[in-house]
């Protein structure tokens, strides 16, 4: 049994002009201790998938269907009370915006201590002592002093360290990181990724890393799920995915990554781009969701939605034309 099994997840939002199918039938598993990256463009449903796992989607207007089994229990069937016991304790989450994700009027110590008091029944002093240890663990200097400070007294990188401290305080089995480094400077990004990797090893938590940054994926992930327009279009181990991407969308994503120094070595090429935009999620798309932007699309693609099939061992993709083994047939 996998740690987390997501089966046919559908998160829809009722809006005045129709139902927005932000996530439409996504399935994937996360094994204990593994790092899974979920990648895709803005608006492809990555963050909504992450928020759905912890049921942080406001309902209504949102509605989550399918099954999210964590250690065998379907989270969608739990009461609010049972769900609160899981949040921040067995599954915790860090967010994209460290500048706004911490409460500006509570001390850092109080915010770290809150999870400990909620889930481990520590009293105020114990929680604060533990908060100091957590700050030390995430590499914040002078934790004794910092623990009494407020978020506005910390830099962006430090705030994200505090978020990580909050998330890891109760030794969760699963950490969901939604674009944890996007809002940070490049040098700080590397530090935060190193920190996450290091702590993951110590705590033994599995990580679901939501990102659009393929550099980050290559750096930390073991397995990758590629999402497009609310669906999963490809899933593979990170090596095979980067070496032989099967889905044209994944190929487009990889082609649009700038290569450092390509202009110096004389191999300068124009950056590939994927033309067009993610289609509106408010209409049902009969065929392949990527057909409108795919360079290889045919009438078959526009009419019949391709099923996810195993193109190589452990490597699935949803494309009529992606070859089962080897390069594109089209």
């Amino acid at each position: 049994m996998a740690l987390l099994e997501i089966e046919n997840l559908q998160t829809h939002f009722r809006t005045p002009d129709g139902v927005n199918r932000a996530v439409d039938g996504v399935s994937f598993n996360v094994e204990a201790g593994e790092t899974l990256a979920v990648v895709g463009e803005s608006g492809c449903g990555k963050s909504v998938t992450a928020m759905s796992i912890l049921r942080l989607i406001p309902e209504p207007p949102g509605r989550i269907a399918g099954a999210i089994r964590f250690q065998g229990r379907n989270l969608l069937e739990l009461s609010d009370r049972e769900m609160r016991d899981i949040r921040g304790n067995e599954i915790s989450m860090i967010f994209q915006e460290p500048m706004t994700s911490l409460n500006p009027v509570l001390t850092v110590g109080r915010q770290i201590g809150e999870t400990l008091r909620l889930h481990q029944g520590l009293n105020r002093q114990q929680a604060e002592a533990r908060a100091v240890e957590m700050l030390q663990l995430v590499g914040i200097p002078e934790p004794q002093r910092r623990v009494r400070e407020y978020p506005h007294q910390l830099s962006g990188g430090m705030r994200q360290r505090v978020m990580i401290a909050i998330a890891l305080a109760c030794n969760p089995k699963l950490l969901i990181a939604d674009e944890p480094t996007t809002a940070l400077d490049v040098t700080i990004q590397a530090q935060i990724l190193d920190l996450m990797r290091d702590l993951k090893r110590r705590v033994g938590a599995a990580i679901v890393l939501i990102t659009h940054d393929l550099g980050v994926v290559a750096e930390v992930a073991e397995r990758v799920v590629v999402m497009y327009a609310g669906r999963k279009v490809e899933e593979a181990q990170v090596g095979p995915l980067f070496r032989t991407p099967r889905h044209p969308y994944t190929q487009g994503l990889l082609g649009s990554v700038p290569k450092l120094g390509s202009s110096l070595t004389g191999t300068e090429t124009r950056l590939a781009e994927i033309p067009g935009l993610v289609p509106s999620l408010k209409q049902k798309i009969p065929g392949c969701v990527f057909a409108s932007r795919c360079p290889h699309a045919t009438d078959l693609c526009r009419e019949v939605a391709p099923a996810l099939e195993e193109k190589a061992p452990g490597h699935v993709a949803a494309c009529h034309y992606a070859a089962r083994e080897g390069a594109m047939a089209a």
């Binding site: 942080l56 609160r84 967010f95 009027v105 509570l106």
Partner: protein
């Protein structure tokens, strides 16, 4: 912090000076001659002139203003034209009922309005929210005296739960004191509750959509903790500001409420003084009210630092 407090207190001096000038000249310009009122219908013009001279009303405006200010600074608000008692004495006699009414109303309003606003924001768009908003509109639009008479009719005359009117000093015991003040406080508080509930709802709605509220949910915090710790503390500054500004509403409303419920407070004293053109009393009371208002709002500026660590003086 201390430097800031001193600076703010010094800054109240020009404010109070303007208030004083305004209060003084308003009554100077106002129609009606107190000398004529005191002299009565039978008086000759010479009598009126004599009384005017004895009151000092015949001397130039600025001279009288200067003298008046100097006396006030010495703690002397003058002597009532009508009762011949010092104004400070008259205020001292009447201040307890008014302060009791205002403090009780303030507590009632805050205790009722903040949970109401929080609830409305949490249940945005439901019938609870609509109910609170409807109450707020009603609270704003129905005048204090209408609410007052209605409450007195229902709870005092018909149900006989509470006294119709009057005031019992706090020294006579807590319950007799409270009994007489419940209806006036509810009547006076209705506008204030509406005001605070509305601002609480609006501010909470904004705060509840912030990222740190999502963080709190992701930590497993309960709904109560999210609303009253994570959100309300962030919403506190605008709410407290409105509570401070609303003190002006209370002062204005107290005058009407004291008349409706026959409470012998400063409001009644003001009304009586206006009817008798008792200049020194009117001036004294208005100055006192302005001073209280300025002080309360200074206190509120200082209270901000308790709620928001980003505010430093």
């Amino acid at each position: 912090m201390l430097a800031y407090v001193v600076r703010r207190i010094l800054a109240t001096i020009p404010v109070m000076a303007v208030v004083a000038l305004f209060v003084f000249s308003l009554l100077y310009i106002a129609p009606g001659d107190p000398a004529a009122v005191i002299a009565g219908d039978q008086a000759t013009p010479e009598d009126v002139e004599r009384i005017r001279a004895s009151l000092g009303l015949d001397r130039p405006f600025l001279v009288r203003f200067g003298e008046w200010v100097i006396r006030i600074l010495q703690g002397d608000l003058g002597v009532s034209i009508f009762t011949n008692l010092p104004v400070t004495t008259m205020i001292a006699q009447r201040i307890e009922p008014t302060l009791s009414l205002m403090v009780l109303t303030l507590i009632l309003a805050v205790v009722v309005a903040i949970p109401m606003g929080v609830l409305a924001a949490w249940k945005q768009g439901t019938w609870i929210d609509r109910g609170v908003m409807a109450f707020a509109v009603l609270g704003f639009s129905v005048p204090v005296f209408v609410v007052g008479y209605l409450l007195a009719y229902v709870f005092a005359l018909e149900l006989e739960w509470l006294p119709v009117q009057g005031y019992t000093s706090f020294s006579a015991g807590f319950w007799p004191w409270l009994e007489n003040l419940i209806l006036p406080a509810v009547a006076l508080g209705s506008v204030y509750i509406a005001l605070i509930a509305r601002i609480t709802r609006a501010t909470m709605l904004e705060v509840l959509s912030q990222d740190y509220i999502r963080t709190a949910r992701a930590k497993g915090a309960s709904q109560g903790s999210i609303l009253f710790l994570h959100a309300l503390k962030n919403a506190a500054v605008p709410i407290v500001t409105v509570i401070g500004i609303g003190i002006a509403l209370l002062i204005g409303g107290a005058v009407v409420t004291e008349s409706v419920f026959a409470i012998p407070g400063l409001g009644r004293l003001t009304v009586d003084a206006i009817l008798r053109r008792d200049y020194p009393v009117i001036q004294g009371v208005v100055l006192l009210f302005s001073f209280i208002y300025v002080l309360v709002n200074l206190a509120i500026d200082l209270v901000y630092t308790l709620f928001d660590p980003r505010i430093r003086y």
